[in-house]
Symmetry: C2
Subunit: 203 residues, 2 copies
């Protein structure tokens, strides 16, 4: 049973006794997945000539393909393979941008286990070439999204054995930039990107 | 039967009467596919910290996945889908670069039918954002590879209905830059890219 509250928020009330876990309150994005929210934002930026950013397809190793007559080729055996890069890249205002988007159900910190060494390596290589690298962190239980520079993530990543294995929310609040959640774009993450570009250009 | 000629070139002589079509002479790359040649070149650029350029995975729509116990998830039904971008992008010297690689068996011109509207649209959008866009054209019968600015391709593309449906080799020779074919990198296409970046920075 769904009750509509003022401000357009939608809260689910459990009608079945089986479903005891609370479902998160859904705001503007109405239960959209994080990836979908970013893709829609990218479409918005593309259509408004603000930025050209795309999600890369999932890398797959194809083993078998059927070619039936008069219909499309059908892949009958394939496996997911490890990506060597991040999920998103593109160009904004003469700058290469590259980022990874991750989510957590945690409410007080973002676990580093969400990231992989190859993503860190790729962002380090892109940074070295002058690209703008960052992560979008989605706290699904809090409905909050943050832009965080790769430099901050990398600092925590490099010291995870001796320090802690997650980035505290208050650090993210301080060092990152919270992205407004809305309708168009769903997640407005381009402002901190443009600020970072400006900063880099002034160096 | 393979005969090794001086200069390391390898020419196949048909020993079977069935195989009547001539196989192209293989030089340094020894029968490597064009895509493979570019990927190896990208690896070279990455390892030498010259550029970070990757081929995007083939986009696929996954319909069915099996999750067998104790082994990797197996995709049992999937279809190839249309890409919305080009095959390659990356970052070089603070610049976003984006390109498509195509090959032809033709010896005198490069057919525009090798390209698709979405690739043209994507490169136009990236160019508008200040990215460096181009194509790598491989004449497989001639063993020659050219860098050609998107602006030239786009000019031919926009006028293909009233002018011609291919770009003559002599135009490509004049307006493009021939990329040396070697061992490391297999196709050295980064020089014309760097020149284009310099040109853009001086504007």
């Amino acid at each position: 049973m769904a009750i509509r509250y003022p401000k357009g928020s939608l809260q689910y009330v459990n009608s079945s006794s089986k479903r005891k876990t609370k479902r998160p309150i859904e705001y503007g994005h109405r239960g959209m997945k994080f990836e979908e929210m970013i893709n829609q934002s990218n479409d918005y930026y593309l259509n408004r000539h603000i930025a050209v950013i795309h999600k890369k397809p999932t890398p797959i190793q194809i083993v078998n393909v059927d070619y039936p007559k008069r219909s499309a080729a059908k892949i009958t055996e394939a496996y997911f393979t490890q990506a060597s890069t991040t999920d998103y890249n593109g160009v904004v205002h003469h700058c290469y941008i590259d980022f990874e988007a991750k989510e957590t159900k945690n409410k007080t910190s973002f676990p580093l286990s969400n990231f992989h060494q190859h993503q860190i390596d790729h962002m380090a290589a892109c940074t070295e070439q002058g690209g703008i690298c960052f992560v979008l962190l989605w706290f699904s239980s809090l409905n909050r999204c943050f832009y965080l520079d790769f430099a901050i993530l990398n600092d925590y990543w490099q010291h995870q054995e001796t320090r802690r294995k997650s980035i505290p929310l208050n650090v993210i609040e301080q060092e990152g930039v919270e992205c407004p959640i809305g309708i168009a774009p769903v997640i407005d993450y381009i402002q901190p990107v443009l600020k970072q570009i400006e900063k880099q250009n002034n160096r």
